[in-house]
């Protein structure tokens, strides 16, 4: 797989670092890792940057992950970019809601690097 540019959206800087580490452990060649603390920051990042993959929390201040995913189609740089939600909200209703908003994958916290790999690789393969 080619090197990947990734945007990690989570209000916890610790969780952003953990997600990045899991992606590297999953064998992804990360060319660039961008970070945002909420959905609004992430939209701002995407106005100036092109990424191949977005990993996004749901519960965040200012703009939550579901609203962020809903607004993605309006961002030219985000067209066709797969989004995988990573969240403590693990109910089936939340999964359905996230997918209907436009997410391609869903990872429940707590998670392992292997689980991140299992969810991220198929959506990246689907993109390419």
């Amino acid at each position: 797989m080619d090197s990947v540019r990734c945007l990690i959206v989570d209000d916890s800087s610790v969780m952003r670092k953990i997600v990045e580490r899991c992606l590297r452990q999953a064998g992804l060649d990360l060319k660039q890792v961008l970070e945002a603390g909420n959905g609004a920051e992430a939209l701002s990042v995407l106005r100036d940057n092109v990424v191949d993959l977005i990993l996004c929390d749901i519960n965040m201040p200012v703009m939550d992950g579901l609203e962020f995913v809903k607004q993605l189609p309006g961002v030219p740089n985000a067209k066709g970019v797969p989004v995988v939600m990573i969240t403590t909200e693990g109910s089936e209703a939340h999964v359905v809601q996230a997918i209907s908003c436009g997410a391609q994958g869903y990872i429940r916290k707590p998670f392992t690097a292997e689980q991140v790999k299992e969810h991220v690789m198929p959506v990246l393969a689907g993109k390419s």
């Binding site: 916890s12 610790v14 580490r21 519960n59 969240t87 909200e89 693990g90 109910s91 089936e92």
Partner: protein, 164 residues
């Protein structure tokens, strides 16, 4: 309408929820910190230096907290980030807050029908031990004492309301 105390004592709910808190805590530490929690032989007081809290609202209202001393919280942070203990910077509060958030989420997801009917607040973290927690809970807290790398931690759930 039944009280929280009545619901918690019905059919061993209190005991089963304590077990769920323990399982939820163990899973978070095993998956995110690659560390197996153990049960202390004696019920010693947990030294408090850092407390993380997450509020629950909806069908279940209350506060889930995790308490430990500063060194324990720093060790958790080092395990979570995969960095040496000496290199743990200002991330300790954030890390303990995330641990608390994941335990709370994992716990509620284990109770049938609660996952979508109970929301979690962002974590709050208190540093220091000279404080009292007034959660308006109407029954004694559900407490689980565990050892992380031999260091005591206390996970508590203060329940205020359970809507049937």
């Amino acid at each position: 309408m039944k009280s929280v105390s009545e619901i918690l004592t019905e059919n061993g709910t209190r005991e089963s929820w304590i077990q769920l808190i323990e399982v939820a805590s163990r899973e978070v530490f095993e998956l995110m910190l690659d560390c197996r929690l153990t049960v202390p032989v004696t019920a010693e007081e947990t030294p408090v230096g850092v407390t993380a809290m997450v509020g629950l609202a909806g069908q279940l209202c209350g506060v889930l907290s995790i308490r430990c001393n500063g060194r324990t919280a720093a060790l958790m942070t080092s395990k979570m980030l995969g960095v040496a203990l000496d290199n743990v910077g200002p991330d300790v509060a954030d890390a303990l807050g995330e641990v608390c958030n994941m335990i709370a989420g994992n716990f509620k997801n284990k109770i049938a029908g609660l996952g979508n009917r109970c929301m979690l607040s962002p974590p709050s973290v208190i540093t220091g031990s000279d404080y009292d927690l007034h959660s308006l809970a109407v029954s004694p807290a559900l407490e689980v004492r565990l050892l992380f790398e031999g260091l005591p931690i206390l996970v508590s759930l203060h329940v205020r309301h359970i809507h049937g």
